[in-house]
Symmetry: C2
Subunit: 321 residues, 2 copies
DNA sequence: CTGAAAGCGCTTACAG
DNA sequence: CTGAAAGCGCTTACAG
């Protein structure tokens, strides 16, 4: 049975409230009493009971963090960085994989705010913001009380990446992405590859893609197309893992990277020789998200969206102009 | 202000306790009253207050899960699978990146058990097991009350992998692993590559490695050694990411995979053409961990360790004999 | 500056 | 089968 505040007070021979004040460093407690209390607490290995406190104060310093797809390296790293940033900020992170689950938690525990790391949850995050601060990461911005918003600048990042590819004289440019294949032109707000398409269009370069489809959906399809003799000299991939798979498939067929085909991945976990990668500054996203949450908790109501820039790097992590 | 049980009872014109029983489906409540209560609860959008309940029952159905290094694909996937398995089992997962943090949570919230997904935390998990069930994943087994243990069979898996490599006639076998380089022979319990070494030794094959070192620490070092003319025809890598990096470095130098060098990765996230990978059944680990926790919660005190087998697969995910 | 009382929302005996 | 009372461990007025 762990010691309660009552035990501490009894052991220090003071009133309950005095014990509490002493432990919270309230200066209105006489020093010699405070000392007695603190010693008693140490002796009894007293720890405040978070539940009881939260029940009374109606506030648990717990922040549910919704991060889906933890098996993807981007989300895993984001979850880790968010956790660390919250702890450093004296908040208790609770990672959830299911966004609905955050919703439940918030209704049922007295959480103090939450963070959503995915675009598609307006219908969850907005009602939540009526009760308490919510920060979204890479979700569309809405000007709304208690709602913060931190976004990576996919548009700018991929525009610059496309320009860099064009500036190297590449004109037969393809996109390999299952997601873009599925949701292209569906008004998805963070459509990396639409920025690429727009940039190509401005340079009057038509992307290489299967007739009637927005891009290559599978690696097999892309390789097939190459084998049929269609020329491709650069490929934007959904992420670094797909970039590596493409690298492997090309290497197995004797296609040289980057001489024949330049490969551009994303997320910077793994950049193979000659490849490029668009780097998402995950640590910055996490830090900005927690900073925004802090501002909301401190009472700010409307906060402008925070935009975090991306960069384009080579295999050594060096910036590419 | 959310509705409380008191509100529901008042609205249904029954006593507090009757309302509670009705909501919990207690058959001793008269049906017509139960109906009134349930309707009132629905009308008021009542949700039981988890904190208050836990304060009284001294039991929160929350399971802290300690998973470090979430940015690594293995841990990310494990965290995700554990979360899903716990939710499916009606327990509330709380993911923590810091193991010490779990310790704090358990002392401070009334959690009902916890899961540690890393080997090195005996000094945390064992004291915890005095209070409540603890399940470790890939940690050394200790016969101890309230302590469950689920382990992947690294020894067997890598032994079979090494045998498969030998059976293909490869004799110049190297290991590329920063971790093994650091902790080899330090009694680390899940030393994948020690199993490889033993298997080679039994076949009287000496591993290829820098003089006086347990293995290659960096990719650069391995490539250098190859360039100097040392023959290597198979490399065990720490994981699939390093396998891919090695693949890339070899491809850039015109070395053929697997003809010249066979690459064996681990974790099966990413297997490039011609490579092999030792597959850790993460879903099974998670399922077994939750099942073990359930048994401990149900009152079993001593549980034998659960061993989950690994498999060796090729780029298509097919088993290799 | 200190201490006794009420109450957060629930559950658990227990009396009717 | 139903309902009034006590209490989980804290905090928050408030009286001394």
């Amino acid at each position: 049975m762990p010691a309660t505040l009552y035990d501490v007070a009894a052991s220090a021979r003071v009133a309950l409230n005095t014990a509490r004040k002493a432990l919270q460093g309230d200066p209105t407690v006489r020093p010699y009493l405070a000392r007695r209390v603190i010693e008693a607490a140490a002796r009894l290995d007293y720890r405040p009971h978070t539940l009881a406190r939260a029940l009374k104060t109606r506030r648990l310093d717990v922040v549910p963090v919704s991060v889906i797809n933890l098996h993807e390296i981007y989300f895993g790293e984001l979850a880790e960085k968010l956790s660390n940033a919250l702890i450093a900020s004296n908040l208790e992170p609770i990672l959830c994989t299911e966004p609905d689950h955050v919703f439940e938690l918030v209704q049922t525990l007295n959480t103090c705010g939450s963070i959503f790391a995915y675009a598609d949850f307006d219908q969850l995050s907005h009602p939540l913001a009526r009760t308490q601060p919510v920060v979204t990461i890479n979700a569309p911005f809405h000007r709304k009380a208690n709602l913060g918003c931190v976004n990576a600048d996919f548009e700018g990042g991929f525009r610059r990446a496309a320009q860099a590819v064009l500036s190297r004289g590449r004109k037969r440019i393809a996109v390999l992405s299952e997601i873009f294949h599925k949701i292209a032109y569906k008004n998805w707000p963070f459509d990396k590859f639409r920025a690429v398409e727009r940039t190509l269009a401005e340079a009057s370069v038509a992307p290489v893609r299967p007739v009637g489809e927005p891009c290559f959906e599978t690696l097999g399809r892309l390789i097939e197309t190459l084998a049929e003799g269609t020329e491709i000299d650069a490929v934007f991939c959904e992420n670094d893992l797909w970039a590596a798979r493409l690298f492997g498939a090309l290497a197995a067929r004797g296609v040289r990277v980057p001489d024949d085909v330049l490969i551009i991945g994303c997320d910077a976990g793994l950049i193979l020789p000659g490849c490029w990668s668009v780097k998402i500054p995950i640590g910055d996203l996490a830090a900005q998200a927690v900073a925004t949450l802090r501002r909301l908790l401190a009472g700010e109501v409307f906060i402008e969206p925070v935009i975090v820039p991306l960069s384009l790097v080579d295999e050594d992590g060096k910036d590419i102009a």
